[in-house]
Structure formats: structure tokens, C-alpha cells
Symmetry: C2
Subunit: 604 residues, 2 copies
């Protein structure tokens, strides 16, 4: 059934443009089973064409399996209906937890979306992954992410497993991720699995510095633009290109409905900044915010299934004057809202004073804290200043307190930081926040690149990811200028996939180099189709190639338009290799001959 969005975009098309569902070139969805039938971990398997040896005989190249964030959408077998949401794949896991209870049905939500069962921890208990982990229990989510992180890399052929030793700065990534390893990392707070009891549609993932570096894509409307339809499509576009989580940062009505549509259709964790909705509830004036309104907002979002929430509880009253002489003051929306509240009432931040109560709510639904960095620097001039680090230290205290409630935590960081000052952020966060996962915006490493800040920040993101940041919050080309559209989302996500992957490589993640090795082998062997399909963005790679050499035959060509046939280094180099091998063969024969005494006929 197809439903047209009405003027207010409260309805979505039930059918989806094929571009969101098309499998990637040469790729198929595979499911790796876990210990029970309900654990089926989707991955993408990329087939390769054979290599043709000197004798013209084909040598098979095995398929390459890659981590896949796109969910059921790229599985042609999956029935997708946006108006019904994704199937509640986690429901059986949640129901089987003795300390979880059904708490009625979720409010039916906008228009056609079906009401779903609503869960929460039984009174007096906690239902977080950290809670179970600390009790020594391995949840299906933990097993799921273990399988997902491995992505079958151990099955790759040895030549593709060749890799450099990394420089991990203290991270320890095992050769094989076991469910027990995941449990242990979650138990000690070094990793989180953002997985609200009410986000039943979720394919679990893990965030921590001993796992693959993850990326987040921000979505959300503002008062000046966008519709629900657009935001859901941005979410689909973001996960297609590789977003591990999305944040719905909508600040304009319909906030609740936009989020509902996103969560019900999202296979990745969804984060929010609840103060935006709370502010709308009080009519837009920060000074009118109250703890009660905020708490009610958080509870409503938790019941809806939000997996992690940015809470600016580290913006403390005494820190605010530290920003007064900054070049760009406070550039976090949440941070500036809380700062205004604090100043207006001359009281301590109510998120800080009510932290324990917040922890209880989080523990009841398993919402992870993403402790906000309301005082992050918005310009190089303000980088690593007293305000920023005062808040980071406060984040550390809040982190430990949340852990006392078994609540999962990550810490938000950076902003604008020049390259040589990035590592200090990571080092202090590790020390002050007890190795809780760090989650950073960029950092942008110069202020003069509006229109290109996805690039400028991907530089900083790659570096801080290498140093140990667990998740990188993307920046789009529209940063500082306007609201990103679908194309900006793709540019931002791919830039950050590059940064995250570069970080994995530099840390020495055992599986990271396999795809690089496969692509480079394909490149050297002029297997153009394989080069495209192994790329982060196969469509773009093909499109760029075809701009100058569009014909199919040219994808079999042993050159491209960069150098043309005569100057192709790859082709020349293959000839060099053949020639060197021939000559080395002769030399070895000659050496053997000399070793043998240099006589034409060896003595027997």
C-alpha cells in the first residue's frame, strides 16, 4: 500500500524508491548464525571475478565479507513497508529477561504505524547490558556484536590477511572477538551496546576502542526546513553509506513523530538530545525549563526506543564564565541552552543535580548516556581551553556515577582543534573518564574551510580515531552553513567511513587491511569491476571511471584514462615483474651453478 505524505509530512510513502534498496554491485546479503536461531547477523559479501594468469587460466578470487550497516533494506528478500516499520527482531530476547516487564502498549504514534509492546525493567531492577555483563551474563546482543565485529575475517585467504603491525596507543583488539570479550568490555564500561528495550528493530552494534571505530550521522529538521519524509530518507541514505548510528537532532515540530518514524524504521541505534524537545515543550525559552519537564521528555523518549541521549550535565555554573572571553563562546546548542538556564536562575545545572534520578530512568530502559560536551571549542582559538577541560573532568565524575547505576556511558568531545592538540583530548579523556568510549565531533582542524568541513574534520577524526576514539560524529559539507540534504549526508558518511577505517588500519585492527589488500590486488590486475565493488562507494567509483572510458570493453582494459595505454605504470610494472622473475630464475640457476662448483656437469 502506498500512502502519500500529506502537507505536514505526517505520513510516509510505504513503498520506497529503489535506490534505497538496491543491493551494492556484486554483493549479496549473508546472515551468519549465532547460538540460537534468533541470532542472525547480516553482512555483505562482495563477489570477485577471477584473475587470469599468464597462461590465460582463471584463478578464483574468494569473496570478501564486509561489515554492513544497511540493515534489511539491501536484502532483496526482505519485505519493507515504512508504514509498518521493521520487524521487532529483538522482542523475543527482551521478553525472556526475567527482570523486564511489559508496560502496556506504546502510544500508537502517527498515522499508520502500529502500536508495539512497551518494555521496561521491573521496579527496583536494572535492565542494561552493563547490568547483565557485570552479573556475568552474555546477552544475545553481546553474541550478536561479537559475530558482527569479526565479520568472518578469519576465513579470508592468507594473502589477503597480510597486514602491518599497528600502533594502538593502549587499545587491545583480539584476533577474534568472543561474546565473553564483549561482555567483559561492557562490564568495565570500556564499551557500550546502545540498545533500548523498546528499540526492537535494532541490529545491535558495539562502541568501544577495542572494536572497530564507528561513525554517527546526524539527521533532523530545523524550524526552517525539512519534512519527516526527508529525514527518514536521510536515515536510510546514511546507513546505506555506512553510518553505524544516527542522531535525530530535530528541533521543530513534529519532533515526536519524526523520531517515531525514524526509530521504527532504523536498524541502527538512534540517539537524541532531549533538551531540544523539552525546550519546545516549554515554548522555547531556556529559563522556563524545569527538571520535571525534562524528566518527562526523557521518559517519553525512552519509552519510544531512543538508544542513547546526549545530556549536557557537565555544563556547570562555575564553568560558564570561563567561556566569556572565548572567540566563539558556546557553540553547542544544548550547552548554550543549559548555560542560559544556569545564569537565569543562578543555580547549578539541573541535569547535574538530578543526575541520580536520570540514571534510574536510563537503567530502566537501557538508554546509554552520551554525556554532552556543551563547552566544546567552536574555533581553533578556543581549543583545549580551561572551559573545555573543566567540563571533560566533570564528565568523568558523571561517568563513574552512572556506572554505579549500571548505566552505559560514552563521553562527547572535540569540535575545533588543531592537529597537534588532538591527542591531549584523548589522553585526558582516557584518564579522567575511566576509558568510557569517547565520541567526538570531528575535530575540525581549521576554521577556514566552510563548504569543505567534512574533509577538514575527517582529518581530525581519523587522527583521534587512531588515538582511541570509539565513535566519530560526522560533519557534512554544509556544516556552519545550512541543513544537510541527502547528498551532503552521503558525502559526510563516506568521508567518515574513510576516517574510521584509516583509524582501524593505524591501530592495527587485525581485519582492517583485508579489503584494502583485495582492492589493491584487483587494481593491479585491472579487474575494474572488482575495484569498484570493493570501494566504499562503488557507484561513485564507476561513475568517475566512466566519465572518460564509458564503454564496457574498457573495463577489461589494462589502463585507464589517467595515463592511457602506453604510460600505464601498472601495466609496465606487470611486465617488469615478469621480466624480473625470469631474470631472477636465471640468476638462481647461475648461483646454483656456481655453488655447485661452476662445472657444467656436477660430480655425482
Amino acid at each position: 500500500m502506498t500512502v502519500k505524505p500529506d502537507a505536514g509530512s505526517r505520513l510516509l510513502d510505504a513503498t520506497l524508491d529503489p535506490q534505497y534498496r538496491a543491493p551494492f554491485p556484486s554483493s549479496r546479503k549473508v546472515y551468519v548464525p549465532g547460538s540460537t536461531p534468533s541470532i542472525r547477523v547480516g553482512m555483505r559479501e562482495i563477489a570477485q571475478t577471477p584473475t587470469f594468469g599468464a597462461d590465460g587460466r582463471p584463478l578464483e578470487n574468494p569473496p570478501v565479507t564486509v561489515y554492513d550497516t544497511s540493515g534489511p533494506y539491501t536484502d532483496p528478500e526482505a519485505a519493507i513497508d515504512l508504514s509498518a516499520g521493521l520487524p521487532p527482531v529483538r522482542e523475543a530476547w527482551i521478553r525472556s529477561r526475567p527482570n523486564v516487564e511489559m508496560a502496556g502498549h506504546r502510544h500508537p504514534g502517527p498515522a499508520l504505524l502500529p502500536a508495539r509492546n512497551r518494555y521496561r525493567a521491573k521496579p527496583g531492577t536494572r535492565a542494561t547490558q552493563m547490568h547483565y555483563a557485570r552479573r556475568g551474563e552474555i546477552t544475545p546482543e553481546m553474541e550478536y556484536v561479537a559475530i558482527r565485529e569479526n565479520a568472518r575475517w578469519q576465513e579470508a585467504p592468507d594473502d589477503l590477511k597480510r597486514r602491518h603491525a599497528g600502533q594502538a596507543w593502549g587499545a587491545r583488539m583480539p584476533e577474534e572477538i568472543t561474546p565473553e570479550f564483549v561482555r567483559d568490555e561492557v562490564a568495565r564500561g570500556r564499551a557500550i551496546i546502545p540498545a533500548n528495550l523498546n528499540h526492537l528493530e535494532l541490529e545491535p552494534m558495539v562502541i568501544g576502542r577495542n572494536f572497530k571505530v564507528k561513525i554517527n550521522a546526524n539527521l533532523g529538521n530545523s524550524a526552517l526546513s525539512s519534512s519527516i519524509q526527508e529525514e527518514v530518507e536521510k536515515m536510510l541514505w546514511a546507513i546505506r553509506w555506512g553510518a553505524d548510528t544516527v542522531m535525530d537532532l530535530s528541533t521543530a515540530e513534529p519532533i515526536h513523530d519524526t523520531r517515531e518514524w525514524i526509530i521504527r524504521n532504523s536498524p541502527v541505534p538512534v540517539g537524541t538530545v532531549p533538551v531540544y524537545e523539552a525546550l519546545e515543550r516549554v515554548g522555547g525559552a531556556p529559563e522556563d525549563l524545569t527538571w520535571e519537564v525534562f524528566r518527562d521528555t526523557v521518559v517519553a523518549q525512552a519509552e519510544q526506543g531512543v538508544d542513547y541521549m546526549t545530556i549536557h550535565a557537565g555544563v556547570l555554573l562555575p564553568f560558564i564564565h570561563l567561556t566569556a572571553r572565548r572567540t566563539t563562546g558556546i557553540v553547542s546548542r544544548g550547552g548554550s541552552i543549559m548555560a542560559r538556564w544556569c545564569l537565569a536562575h543562578h543555580k547549578e545545572n539541573f541535569l547535574y543535580t538530578h543526575w541520580d534520578e536520570l540514571c534510574e530512568v536510563m537503567a530502566a530502559f537501557d538508554v546509554a548516556f552520551s554525556i554532552g560536551d556543551g563547552l566544546r571549542p567552536g574555533s581553533l582559538a578556543d581549543a583545549n581551553d580551561e572551559a573545555q577541560f573543566a567540563e571533560l573532568k566533570a564528565q568523568g565524575g558523571l561517568t563513574r556515577r552512572a556506572w554505579a547505576f549500571d548505566v552505559q556511558v560514552m563521553n562527547e568531545g572535540p569540535g575545533h582543534v588543531p592537529m597537534h592538540m588532538i591527542k591531549e583530548n584523548m589522553d585526558k579523556q582516557l584518564e579522567w573518564c575511566g576509558e568510557a568510549p569517547f565520541y567526538t565531533l570531528g575535530p575540525v582542524i581549521t576554521d577556514i574551510s566552510p563548504g569543505y568541513d567534512h574533509m577538514a574534520s575527517a582529518i581530525g577524526a581519523a587522527m583521534i580515531g587512531w588515538y582511541g576514539t570509539a565513535m566519530l560524529c560526522y560533519v557534512t559539507p554544509k556544516e556552519h552553513l545550512g541543513l544537510p540534504d541527502r547528498n551532503d549526508v552521503r558525502e559526510g558518511v563516506v568521508a567518515y567511513r574513510i576516517a574510521a577505517h584509516a583509524a582501524d588500519l593505524a591501530k592495527g585492527h587485525p581485519a582492517a587491511q583485508i579489503r584494502d589488500n583485495a582492492l589493491s590486488k584487483a587494481r593491479f590486475e585491472f579487474r575494474w569491476e572488482d575495484q569498484f565493488s570493493l570501494s566504499l562507494d562503488p557507484d561513485r567509483a564507476r561513475e568517475f571511471h566512466d566519465e572518460t572510458l564509458p564503454r564496457h570493453g574498457e573495463k577489461l582494459a589494462h589502463f585507464c584514462s589517467m595515463c592511457g595505454p602506453r604510460f600505464c605504470a601498472m601495466a609496465l610494472s606487470q611486465q617488469v615483474r615478469d621480466e624480473a622473475a625470469r631474470q631472477q630464475g636465471l640468476e638462481q640457476q647461475a648461483a646454483a651453478f656456481k655453488e655447485g662448483g661452476g662445472e657444467l656437469y656436477r660430480k655425482v
Copy 2:
């Protein structure tokens, strides 16, 4: 006069599309005079609008002067005629050198280009910047680049001069670049001024790690695409967006004429890889190359005015077998050509065996060597391997030998290198090559990003620039896929301007942060027009802003479409600042009151 290009594109339009000549927004060309009237250093001055204080009174913001690579093209006063070339601004300097002689007229070249005087060192003498520097002579070129490097930064107001201490890894950038400092750096080989006696149109620039990090843009046709017109326009586009040098890597006829048009119209140094033309001269088979053909090619290019040449003299016969087991063999075009020659003849590389003769040619015209990295890694798997470092060490020996001839030298490096292995390249180059300027391609930090390799390599470029690389060779989005077009050139150049600037910031270049500070101040004060005009790409910044808020009035708005008016952190933060200042004032009064004894009426 307008001349239409003929079918073979041997003629160029004498008039130029206005997009190549339009001054940047709010910008004007200024010329800073040197010690003689012939020294006039062009810079770009960006005007700013006033800040409106709380009382509504305007406070002037001074203009910001920036380094300008665009040459006379962005000066509306300059008469530009591509068919005549730029004026020979250096000719008086060259003629005044006692050891330089006129050696006839340059071959008149294609079609309309006027013949120019041709210069070379008198027999038995050397006419390089290094030669003069070592004799203690400060040339006009040295004075020119000193003025250019300072770019009047010392005149900036103190609040814009705020900066972080950098981490320079041994580079020493003085507060003021003096001509004597330039002379000293050139004398000891730590910097070069690529400035062929016959590139009279050049605006000199300096490459060395104690100066601003520079970037190069590659141009050039291949057998499959492009025309002279397109290549000249790419050059103009590259310098407009910030290329400090260009390389003409044409591999297809008309090689000589393409280069002639580029040099005559280029205010930036032009580099080449002469083996490409030499190979065309012998019909395309590497084994048919001879020293004599190569030498003649180099002499012809030197007479034409090429400022630096990539010479793959470090690809030595014993190193070639080291590439045999590589994932991607030899990926340098020049490297693979020389490797094939070596193997075919089983002889040492003739560039190596004739090095002294090459040095004599270079010294006679002041062509700088860019010693090629023919064995650079083409994949992560091959990074930092024995072949690569064997060649780097050989480059060091060649560098010292060239210095014995007073020839200026830089060394080419990287390719594909994961982040954690980048620094080793820089450290070894500094050690083995005596601090000669390092000039690196990227490095690309992953192999899986075709279509986005400008970004993936800008990450590596920023890092290696920080560590000490003097010039970064750009990579365009088409790398590995096809020949870049004009738009790819812009994307690549801006990506690399970001990388070079990020490196300057991280090294702590004394002037680097001024533009960031100015832009961030403009951003915080909602001076949108200033934010655009201070950007690396003002057109892009404006275009992105206007996609969501196109009306002029909205450029005065205290918000943008990212957050809308209510959620604008910047606007909130300004209110926070005002409020904090007010409260601090009250607190100070309160504190003073307490200090004073807390009595309402102080004792006299």
C-alpha cells in the same frame, strides 16, 4: 584579439572566460614593494564589514591579507592575453646577473606565442639560486619570497594574532622571514626557489619546511583525453584555488606545445617528468630510451623554462627485484619506465650513471631536481618496504651530489601509507637526504576510497606536512579512475589547501592562525559575508548557505538553517556572554564589597 582553437587545439582563446579573472569576494590585489621597483609582491587583501556593538555603533574590522597564488589574473588592472603570455617580469633580474648570457631566442613555439629571449649560465659557471646563496648573494627572488611569506602578518591586530604554540618537530619558523633567512635556507639546501632562468613570467616562491607548506597540482593530457585549451584552463583554475606549483604531466602529443602554453601563462613554477617526452621521442618503447635522447629532452625543456623536473635516478637495478613480490609492483609511471629499461639492458639506470652531466644542465638553467620516487608504494601492503626505503636512501646520495653542483633539490615521497607509518617516512628523509625539502604525493591512507582519494590523501598530507614535508602533491577525486577535469582540480586543490594550512597550524607557523581567528570572529558575530570571503572557497560557502537561506536579508540573520533562530548556539551564547559579563560585574562588585569589609559605607 580572439583566436578560436583549431581541431588540434594548437591555438588558445586570447580572451578568457571571466570566471578565471573575477576577483574573490571583498578582495583586492595589493602589491607590497621590495627594495627595488621591480620587486612587487602580489597579495590578496580581504576587506571585512564592521562589528556592531551592543550600542549599535560600528567597530571596524581590519582587512586580512592572505598569500595569493593566482597571479595577475585576479588583478582587474592587468591586461591578460593568453596568446601573448604573461609579461616577463623577471627578465631584468636575470639580465643583471654577470654569469648569465643570452643564448639566442627561444624557439617561437606554437602559433601566436611570441619568441622570447633565452638565457643560460655562461660556460663553466652556475646560475642557480643555491649558487648565489652560497656566495652570500641575496637575489631579487630571495627578497621576493621573503616578502611573500610574511604576507604582512606582522601588521595584523593583536587579537587576531592570538595563537597556540605549535609542535614543529624540529622546524624553525622565525617571526619574520628576512631575505637573509631565505638565502641561508637555500644555501644549506633546506629550501629551494624553483625559478628557471627562462621562466621569466614567474612570481617566485619558496619550498622548505621552515616556510609555509606548499601544494602542487598535476595537470596534463593523456593519449585518451584533453586539449591544450583544457590544460591551460586547468592551470588557471588550479592557481585560482591555491596551487603553489603545477606539474605538466602530459604524455601525449602535442607535449611541447602544451607545455609552452602553460609556462608562458603560468605565474607559478612548472614542473615536468621529462622521461614522458623522451619516451614519445623514441616511439614509446622504454628499452629504446638512451641517455642522449633523454639529455636532449631535458635541455629543450630547460630552455623552455621548466622550473623543476622529476628525475627517477634512484630506481636502481638492484632494487627492482625488491618489487617483485609487492601487491602493486611499481606504480610510478617514470619508475616503471626506468625499471623496464634497466631490466631490458640489464644495466644500471642511465639517469644514475649520468647524474653529474644532468647536474651540469640543471646548474646552467637553474632547474631544480625533484628526485622521483619511482618505487613509492601503490598500496598499503607495500608501504615503507625495502624497495621504497632503498630508493629513498639512494635519493639522499643523489641529493648531496647535486648540491656539489649548486643544484637545488627536493625529494619525492609517499604514495599509499597508513597513518601510523607516515612519520617514519619523514624521519628517514630528513636523516638520509640532509633536510632537502620533501615533496610527497598524499599519502593516501587507505586503498578503498576510489572517488574520494582527494580526501583520503588529504588526511595523510596534513599529517606529513605537519611532520615536515615542504610541499604536498595533490590527489584529485579521479585518482585511480581517470583524468581529472576542471572541477576535480578545484576539489583537489582545496582539499590540499586545507591539509597544508592544517600543517602550518600544527607546526605553529606564526601567521597561520590569523585567518582562522578572523573567520571565527566573523562567524560568532554573524557577519556572513565576511565568513564567506575569508573562506578558502568563498563561492562554495555562499552557494551552500544560499541553498536554504537565499535571500539577502538572511545574510544579516543571527542564525542559519542548521538550527533555525530558536536553537542557534551562537546567538544563545552571545546572550550567555552578555549575561555572564553582567553577573561577573555584579560579583566583582560583591567581592569588592566583601573585601572592603562588607559594610555599606566604607570607612574613609
